[in-house]
């Protein structure tokens, strides 16, 4: 099919020397993907879901937590405010998975690839758009969550005087907030790569959620310290979420930015594998 399209384009280019690369550049790919995302309501609702679910759970978490005077509260207030990320990431994953899998389930992928024979370009355009959209939604979600923590937690006993900080003027909180926004984007990219490999939405969502939630559960049960250390350092959620830690940093198995870097490696590897699968397989 791609060969046919290429052939016809060559013919057209010969007869009409006017813009020969029209419709195959990165900008065109982005424009096409943006149109596809913009013109259905699903992605908008899912992005809204990321924001609402993240902030909602965050508010519930900080609202339910109190630190009465005179008690020890080993709480990381910033991390607590960002609890909703655990839920928001599932919605971001759905968005990313559907961006690809919906095309396969409707057969749209053949049209897309006919129009855009450079398949890695299609995946790159999708990746840029999904990451960008999730970035915007995540920024709103994280801002809302941190703001909720900043407003609610001091009234619940987590005051700055007692050493609890959650605000955008406190360095570690800013790092956690910025990092969490990047975290959600990376989770979306990881999901996109897996979806490009798997192609079926159900199996992709299952695989992504398994990857996100199973490792923390295994970590909770494993008593072997060597494996605990490995799981903390090398699995996407355990390593990636260290970016939210603002207390007890010396006891982390991996430093926050390195942890986010591990997640970035996972996302890059998934995208690479997804790109290869897209390139080598028939659509």
């Amino acid at each position: 099919m791609t060969a046919m399209v290429r052939a016809s384009r060559r013919g057209r280019a010969a007869s009409r020397p006017a813009p020969p690369v029209r419709g195959t550049g990165m900008l065109d790919a982005l424009h096409a993907e943006w149109t596809k995302l913009r013109t259905i309501s699903g992605p908008a609702w899912l992005l809204l879901g990321v924001v609402a679910l993240t902030i909602g759970v965050g508010v519930a978490a900080v609202g339910a937590t109190h630190c009465p005077a005179g008690t020890q509260c080993p709480v990381d207030p910033t991390k607590l405010s960002l609890t909703g990320i655990q839920f928001g990431q599932a919605v971001a994953a759905i968005l990313a998975v559907l961006t690809i899998c919906n095309e396969y389930s409707t057969g749209m992928i053949r049209v897309t690839l006919a129009a855009m024979p450079r398949r890695e370009l299609v995946l790159a355009a999708k990746a840029i758009l999904v990451a960008g959209l999730v970035l915007v939604a995540a920024a709103l979600a994280v801002l809302g969550s941190v703001l909720a923590g900043h407003l609610i937690l001091p009234a619940h006993g987590f005051t700055a005087a007692r050493g609890f900080h959650v605000s955008l003027s406190y360095g570690p909180s800013v790092r956690a907030a910025v990092g969490s926004v990047l975290y959600l984007s990376l989770i979306a990219l990881l999901s996109l790569g897996i979806a490009a490999m798997v192609r079926d939405s159900a199996v992709s969502v299952g695989a992504v959620l398994g990857l996100l939630y199973i490792f923390p559960i295994i970590l909770a049960f494993v008593t072997n310290t060597t494996w605990q250390h490995r799981l903390e350092r090398w699995t996407p959620t355990n390593a990636g979420l260290t970016i939210e830690d603002t207390t007890g940093l010396h006891s982390l198995a991996i430093s926050p930015w390195d942890g986010l870097g591990v997640l970035a490696i996972w996302a890059a590897a998934a995208l690479l594998a997804g790109g290869l699968a897209l390139r080598l397989r028939d659509a």
Binding site: A60, A93, V205, G206, G210, I218, A220
Partner: protein, 552 residues
């Protein structure tokens, strides 16, 4: 709709086979055919079983005990385990306390007035930085205890009944490790002493308490079957690991350290034979006062260490450390314990695979347009849903049963070989855990089928099913929320169904963190399972409603 036009002519032309075809059995068979002929779904179920077993064994195999003195020979596995006492009921117990005892033959009574209960525990107030053993500070653990006891003999794990005052749980009558009855509330002090009495009559022991020594209240009566004619009676003191459940957010952190309790008694009388017995002190299970052992560890109770018993002018002072209680999983235990449930951790990953297949079992019909054929052949839409739920649930049950049986049998064997004490449970409990896990997976599959019917989109259905079953467990396990909120998550969400895997009861007389990783759930096994069933039933009802209302 097309359903009538298809079914009506058929009834007219060929009534005989149609009667059979319209039956529910035929519907089940057709759904089963759909299921088994999709290669991906069959593979998905097999993968679910393999992952369940593999992950369970991975965790069981990694659970190791190693020991050995510094510089000496290092031991691993079973060789590390001390003697493990079992109680009369077969459960693994902790039985170490300091015992001032004398023999009692035949029937008799012991009465004592407890005028003080004090103690000391490891200093863990410094938060994360403090190390256990850095010193002792005054204070009692919630279940520090001192009182009177009638015990079968001086061996660990033998039958007993005791009346005691506790750190912060008032007077209790406890017996045979698992029994616990509340008596007078409040703390013991010189101004507010507690009178305690135990009476033996044959195999029956009755416990009384009193605030003044004249007005006695019966707390409880127990029958210790097979009690020999000569038993040991006397005073005891012991104190379990003192620990603070620091609900650390984002990680498990239970701060704990050893503690000891000192009880001061006066007006102690033993009536019966032999009369005028002499008091002897024995640290049952090394439960004497904490000494600073050779390694400088405040943790090791000294077996032949300093005496914890003094008697002068009719006043007896007894100090001990340990516990008389069932062994429980988790940080409260001094043994490397594991529950049956730990070999079933893989059920989470099996659950995800099963949920994916079950949701697709319905949504695939919409995607391929097969739903129109299905509903044309069976116009009663509720029956279609029921047949799909039964097929998906049945397959999930069988897969879960095979996987959890294999995981438990091999996993327990591995853990036992590795020197982990897999806490024994009655056979019926073991069956409930294995069959219950399979049933939990089956109900989760039905839940996913129903969600698939309601939402028609596999991605949304699968995400909801996984997020509502797995994520509440994860958040509660990691203590992401404060304890109360985490408990409510495990009561209200479909994750409550995981409680069916709990094998060791939540003994109120043992301070343990209610954490699902240690296989403790806030709801009882069947109540939790009922919550999951209620969610599945609600989803099914909603699915029937929307299936009838909507065009396919």
């Amino acid at each position: 709709m097309t359903t009538n036009t298809v079914s009506v002519p058929r009834t007219g032309t060929d009534a005989e086979p149609d009667a059979g075809r319209a039956g529910f059995g035929w519907l089940l068979r057709s759904e089963w055919t759909k299921f088994r002929t999709v290669r991906g779904w069959v593979i998905g179920m097999i993968v679910a079983a393999i992952l369940t077993v593999f992950l369970g064994l991975f965790i069981a195999a990694g659970n190791n005990t190693a020991c050995g003195s510094p510089g000496g020979r290092q031991l691993t596995g079973k060789a590390c385990l001390p003697y493990i006492p079992h109680g009369p009921g077969g459960e693994v117990v902790t039985d170490s306390f300091n015992f001032a005892h004398q023999p009692l033959t035949g029937n008799g009574t012991i009465t004592a007035r407890l005028i003080s209960l004090t103690g000391a525990h490891a200093d863990i107030t410094g938060g994360h930085a403090a190390q256990v053993g850095s010193g002792l500070v005054p204070g009692l653990a919630a279940w520090s205890k001192a009182g009177i006891i009638i015990k079968q003999n001086l061996h660990q794990g033998s039958a007993y009944a005791a009346m005691m005052a506790t750190g912060s749980n008032g007077v209790r009558m406890q017996y045979n490790y698992t029994g616990d009855t509340a008596g007078l509330p409040g703390k013991v002090s010189g101004a507010s002493p507690r009178w305690l009495r135990l009476t033996r009559s044959g195999d029956t022991i009755t416990g009384y308490d009193s605030a003044d020594g004249t007005h006695w209240t019966k707390v409880g009566t127990v029958t210790l079957s097979g009690l020999p004619s000569t038993v040991q009676v006397g005073l005891f003191a012991t104190s379990p690991t003192y620990y603070v459940t620091n609900r650390s957010f984002g990680g498990n952190s239970n701060q704990g350290g050893p503690s000891q309790a000192t009880g001061v008694f006066d007006d102690v009388t033993v009536s019966g034979t032999p009369a005028g017995g002499k008091w002897a002190e024995v640290a049952v299970g090394g439960g004497g006062p904490m000494g600073t052992g050779p390694g400088g560890q405040a943790g090791s109770p000294s077996g032949g260490g300093p005496s914890g018993f003094t008697a002068a002018d009719g006043t007896y002072r007894l100090t001990g450390s340990g516990d008389i209680a069932p062994a429980t999983p988790g940080p409260g235990s001094n043994l490397p314990t594991a529950t049956l449930q730990q070999s079933l951790t893989g059920a989470f990953i099996g659950l995800i695979a099963i949920v994916v297949v079950a949701a697709m079992f319905f949504t695939a019909e919409y995607r391929r347009g097969l739903i129109r054929t299905t509903l044309a052949a069976t116009p009663r839409r509720g029956q279609v849903l029921a047949a799909k739920a039964i097929v998906a649930g049945g397959v999930a049950f069988l897969v879960g049963l095979v996987a959890s049986t294999v995981a438990i049998v091999i996993g327990d064997h591995l853990e036992t070989e590795n020197g982990v004490v897999v806490l024994p449970v009655p056979v019926l409990t073991e069956i409930r855990v294995v069959v219950g896990t399979a049933a939990m997976l089956a109900v989760a599959a039905v839940f996913a089928v129903a969600l698939g019917a309601v939402l028609r989109r596999s991605a949304a259905a699968i995400t909801i099913a996984i997020v509502t079953v797995v994520l509440p467990f994860l958040l509660a396990a990691l203590n992401v929320f404060p304890s109360g909120v985490g408990d409510w998550l495990l009561r209200l969400t479909p994750a409550a169904g995981l409680a069916i895997e709990q094998s060791i009861p939540n003994y109120p007389q043992v301070a343990s963190a209610i954490n699902p990783v240690q296989a403790y759930y806030p709801l009882s096994p069947y109540a939790g399972f009922a919550v999951l069933c209620a969610w599945a039933a609600a989803a099914l009802a909603l699915a029937v409603y929307v299936l009838r209302r909507r065009d396919a």
